[in-house]
């Protein structure tokens, strides 16, 4: 009897715990931990902060490595604040002789700028075998034998771990790593132009092993004290501070290179590129990029608290509920590899992912448009308590004209009017509606919202493309574009040389079937002007080659901000960065002496009214010259469940996980509610199968009674 009760109780418990969620993709019990579940669709290539430069890699290393500065989580416009630094850097200007200059010294007098950075005391690295020491204070794992290495498979196979305090040397060491040719940092070529001694150091260590750089000095980087270091750069480059907030400038203990460079570890895929060592809020406890990555709260994380101030409506949105509380809130973050959108979306709806983007095939299921053109969640999403957050990204997608091209390029008035006519004809409002499900903002200039210099007056617009009519923006009529075509010498789109429709070429590196409708749409837009647009679709490699060699005519391209400064956008139009002439990032090969002169002035200025006016002037110049149709700024739609707290989209910060909080109890309850298995169709199927067998068996019985043929 007693046994029967126990059995009954076990059955009930078992069915409550497991059978109630047969579709649960997680095997481990969360216990009392606060766990966040996210996904990734592409395995990261690099987790070494000197090499990593993509958003899917920053999703991990942003939580692990800590540069001296970070972006304020809540404040807008984006604002830098200290992270491991104890204060913002002391910036000193020097003349050619090394003498100090006043803060308001002329740009021409400034030969060097010193960034003196003081870091907080007492910050410690996450526990890591590279820092493990024995009783004699010697590193335990810096001289591994072949037998020891043979027995290893992951970093977790090391029995001991150690830690030590973060010191200024670690920041200096990382800058030297950026310069080492064997590390292949993507920003090495840029930093050569700025950090004093960077190039010389790079040449000096080119034939030396990675770990040998510890004792070789770089003239522009000096460790002043255990908690202070100085970086000297050429001239004045105010944007350098933004680089100091990127993972490239995170600290790296020299012990990491010594440890990972031991022969045999790389063959086991145990390398700095796969097993980071940082001071951040999280450490990578499981690295299986083929399946899942797991971050755990760093037990040695230094004291940091949730921001106490933000934008005016943050309080109302509940974003300041946790103000002043110690970070991070979440104990464990599980990233699951999910390549396909259908399973990804289903798991989100089942509550197994806490947040989600919206793929085009699930857009209609999630979003509906309101009468006034706004967006709202569908009733099925609202019923689940799902919330929507939309943000305009600090990016731009544009249609570029190759300014070296004989037809659409050049500074002639004829070519400019042709470009303007095309810019009017290509209706990006329609593009956003058809191809982006409304997830974009038509661009009125080159700077997206969130970048200093963006004119957020709602009447601000590109007067060459839009009019302000009855309190709203209105795209210019196609008749104006046709008139411009006449003035450009192509009435009705007829090329006077051939007496045939003007033929232009649209180069694209997206030759897949899915992208053909986009190309066809561009062709239709130009047909409005009588222009025949020929699509030249190639693979992306060939497309890039055409851009490099100047053989493209019209193409689409984009840019995602590295940092929230207009310099990071306008440098794409600076003549000195021409793609064909100089191999720079100016893909349209635009060159305007006035624009270039203003750029050179603007890039060295601190934000001020004067700088703002220069930026507006530069916007006016490129609106007039039209080296590109500005396209749109993409909008990010994020969905998240009711138990997901403190989410505020931040296009600049990479370390947002430490601010998030999960209401685990609500999630557990909702998951059980949403995932009760339905088994009756299986029983029905079994009954039908049996019913189907009965006539078959009867037929067989009849068959064996028949005489042989």
């Amino acid at each position: 009897m007693q046994f029967g009760k126990v059995l009954l109780l076990s059955t009930v418990l078992l069915s409550a715990c497991t059978a109630s969620q047969l579709n649960n993709p997680y095997s481990e019990d969360e216990g009392t931990q606060s766990v966040l579940y996210q996904s990734f669709n592409e395995r990261p290539k690099h987790l070494d902060p000197a090499v990593s430069y993509t958003s899917n890699e920053y999703a991990f290393i942003g939580q692990i490595y800590e540069p001296p500065f970070q972006y304020h989580y809540l404040k807008r416009p984006y604002q830098l604040v200290p992270l491991t630094a104890s204060q913002m850097p002391d910036i000193r200007y020097l003349n050619q002789k090394g003498a100090a200059l006043e803060k308001n010294a002329k740009d021409s007098d400034i030969a060097f700028t010193d960034y003196v950075i003081t870091i907080q005391q007492g910050i410690r690295y996450q526990p890591h075998p590279a820092l493990a020491k024995d009783a004699n204070n010697r590193y335990q794992y810096h001289n591994l034998t072949a037998t020891q290495i043979e027995s290893l498979n992951t970093l977790n196979d090391f029995e001991h771990t150690g830690s030590r305090e973060l010191i200024a040397d670690d920041y200096a060491y990382q800058i030297k790593r950026l310069a080492h040719p064997k590390i292949q940092s993507p920003i090495a070529e840029i930093m050569k132009n700025y950090i004093i001694g960077f190039d010389d150091f790079s040449k000096q260590v080119s034939d030396k092993p990675k770990a040998a750089i510890k004792d070789i000095a770089m003239s522009g980087v000096e460790v002043i004290s255990p908690y202070q270091y100085r970086v000297r750069i050429k001239g004045k480059y105010p944007q350098f501070i933004f680089w100091l907030a990127m993972p490239f400038f995170s600290p790296m203990p020299w012990e990491a290179d010594v440890f990972y460079n031991q022969p045999g570890l790389a063959e086991k895929n145990i390398s700095l590129d796969w097993f980071p060592i940082g001071t951040g809020a999280y450490l990578l406890s499981e690295n299986n990029p083929n399946r899942r990555m797991v971050l755990l709260k760093n037990p040695l994380y230094h004291p940091e608290t949730y921001p106490t101030e933000g934008e005016p409506d943050d309080q109302q949105k509940g974003l300041l509920v946790d103000a002043g509380k110690p970070l991070p809130f979440i104990d464990k973050v599980v990233f699951m590899l999910e390549k396909e959108t259908i399973p990804y979306w289903t798991k989100f709806l089942q509550g197994y992912f806490d947040a989600s983007g919206i793929a085009s095939d699930s857009f209609d299921q999630a979003i509906q448009f309101t009468g006034n053109g706004g967006v709202a969640l569908t009733p099925s999403m609202l019923e689940k308590g799902i919330k929507l957050q939309t943000t305009v990204e600090t990016s731009i997608a544009y249609m570029g004209f190759n300014m070296l091209d004989a037809t659409v390029g050049g500074n002639s008035e004829q070519a400019r009017k042709l470009r303007l006519a095309i810019s009017i004809a290509v209706d990006y409002d329609e593009y956003i509606s058809i191809f982006m499900n409304g997830r974009g903002l038509p661009a009125q200039g080159f700077l997206p919202p969130g970048i200093y210099g963006y004119d957020d007056n709602n009447q601000s617009h590109n007067p060459y493309l839009y009019d302000w009519v009855d309190g709203k923006l209105q795209h210019k009529s196609i008749d104006i574009a046709k008139q411009l075509m006449v003035e450009a010498g192509y009435p009705n789109g007829i090329d006077p040389k051939t007496k045939e429709p003007l033929i232009l070429y649209f180069d694209t590196g997206l030759p897949s079937i899915d992208d053909r409708p986009r190309s066809a749409w561009y062709r239709k837009q130009l047909e409005k002007l009588g222009i025949m647009l020929i699509i030249r679709a190639t693979d992306y490699n060939r497309f890039q080659e055409k851009i490099r060699t100047g053989n493209a005519q019209i193409f689409t391209w984009g840019w995602n901000a590295d940092y929230p400064d207009p310099e990071n956008f306008f440098f794409l139009l600076y003549g000195g960065n021409g793609k064909v002439k100089y191999g720079g990032e100016n893909a349209v090969n635009y060159q305007n002496p006035t624009f270039d002169r203003l750029f050179e002035t603007m890039r060295n200025m601190d934000n001020s009214e004067q700088r703002y006016q220069i930026i507006q002037h530069m916007q006016d110049i490129i609106r007039h010259d039209a080296p590109m149709a500005f396209g749109f700024y993409p909008k990010r739609f994020s969905l998240f469940h009711s138990w997901y707290k403190n989410l505020k989209a931040n296009s600049m910060a990479n370390n947002e996980l430490k601010y998030l909080r999960i209401d685990s109890a609500t999630r557990t309850q909702k998951r059980q509610e949403w995932n009760k298995p339905i088994a009756w169709p299986l029983a029905l199927g079994a009954v039908l199968f049996v019913l189907l067998l009965i006539p078959a068996i009867n037929a067989y019985r009849r068959h064996i009674k028949e005489p042989l043929p």
Partner: protein, 325 residues
């Protein structure tokens, strides 16, 4: 037989060299080392110097097939082809272009592929043969005709449809198993049920039709008439005699695919997030990682050659009349 096996293995060498050359040429017709460097270095701030550095680091700074500036045998050996190919024949796959050790990745990813492919093959084979025998048992009846029609319909539907429909019905509507994912050990079972069922079900149409044809050919032979004449039931005839005699073509189809089960399924692994070798290959092609593509094509070729050899050997086991010489 030993001589035969050795001879077949020796034949495989020129075949593998040919496949390697073909892979190499096809890959480098599409991608130059500069393209590969750009793909690995990303989109931003990539300079010619950075590209040269990358090529130097990864051994792509040499000529492709012939080095005119080198001397003697180095004209051949100081080339990308030689440097990247010689290790393959020793099963040293080296590192991928983003630095991971390929052999370690293959070892890790072969098991999930096998965990899906082997049960799929077994379940598929069992279901196919059972249904084929049932259809032969009820040949010329409405069951046979309906079954054949259903097989044709089933063959006409893309496997992608089965995957999406299976995920929708079983995982989303009925919530009986996770829609995708993978885990170690016994925890993997709940993730394998759906891909295995879908994999087996999607092949039922063609499989049943194929085996039905084989069995129908056998049942018209004299020994079947003799078996019936001596009083065996239809079921006894089919299972004791027909099935045994149809084993040669069954083996032809099954043994040849056994080694390649390790290579995984491209679509299934991708849709079910199974970290196998199929998705490994697809990822490598998308990221233009020549080192992985080359290693996987080579490995696939070796396994296929082994599969064919095993098929030949298995003939001798099921049919004593067959002799390998």
């Amino acid at each position: 037989m030993i001589h035969y096996i050795i001879r077949r293995l020796l034949y495989a060498f020129p075949l593998l060299i040919g496949i390697n050359i073909l892979t190499f040429m096809l890959f480098f017709i599409i991608n130059s080392p500069n393209d590969m460097a750009r793909m690995q270095l990303g989109q931003k701030h990539v300079t010619e110097q950075a590209i040269d550095n990358w090529k130097q680091q990864h051994g792509y700074n040499l000529p492709l097939l012939w080095n005119p500036t080198a001397t003697a045998e180095k004209k051949l050996t100081d080339t990308i082809f030689y440097q990247k190919s010689v290790g393959l024949f020793l099963f040293r796959f080296g590192s991928s272009d983003n630095g991971r050790n390929i052999s370690a990745d293959i070892k890790e990813r072969a098991w999930p592929s096998l965990a899906v492919a082997l049960p799929t093959l077994c379940v598929g084979l069992l279901v196919d043969i059972t249904f084929a025998l049932l259809m032969v048992l009820f040949r010329q009846s409405y069951l046979d005709r309906v079954g054949t029609a259903l097989c044709v319909v089933s063959m006409s539907i893309s496997s992608l449809f089965y995957i999406i429909a299976g995920q929708f019905v079983i995982s989303k509507l009925l919530r009986l198993v996770p829609i995708s994912g993978y885990d170690d050990g016994l925890d993997a079972i709940k993730f394998l049920i759906l891909p295995v069922l879908i994999g087996a079900f999607s092949g039922v149409g063609s499989g049943v039709r194929w085996y039905r044809t084989l069995f129908l050919e056998e049942v018209s032979k004299d020994y079947v008439r003799t078996a019936r004449a001596k009083g065996l039931t239809e079921i006894q005839t089919l299972f004791r005699h027909v099935l045994k005699n149809a084993m040669i073509p069954i083996l032809t189809g099954v043994v040849v695919v056994l080694p390649t089960l390790f290579m995984g399924s491209l679509i299934t692994e991708s849709f079910f997030s199974i970290p196998g070798l199929g998705s490994y290959t697809i990822d490598a092609i998308n990221s233009q990682d020549f080192a992985i593509v080359r290693a996987m094509v080579f490995l696939g070729s070796v396994l296929y050659v082994i599969g064919l050899l095993l098929t030949d050997i298995s003939y001798t086991l099921v049919d004593p009349r067959v002799r390998l010489s």
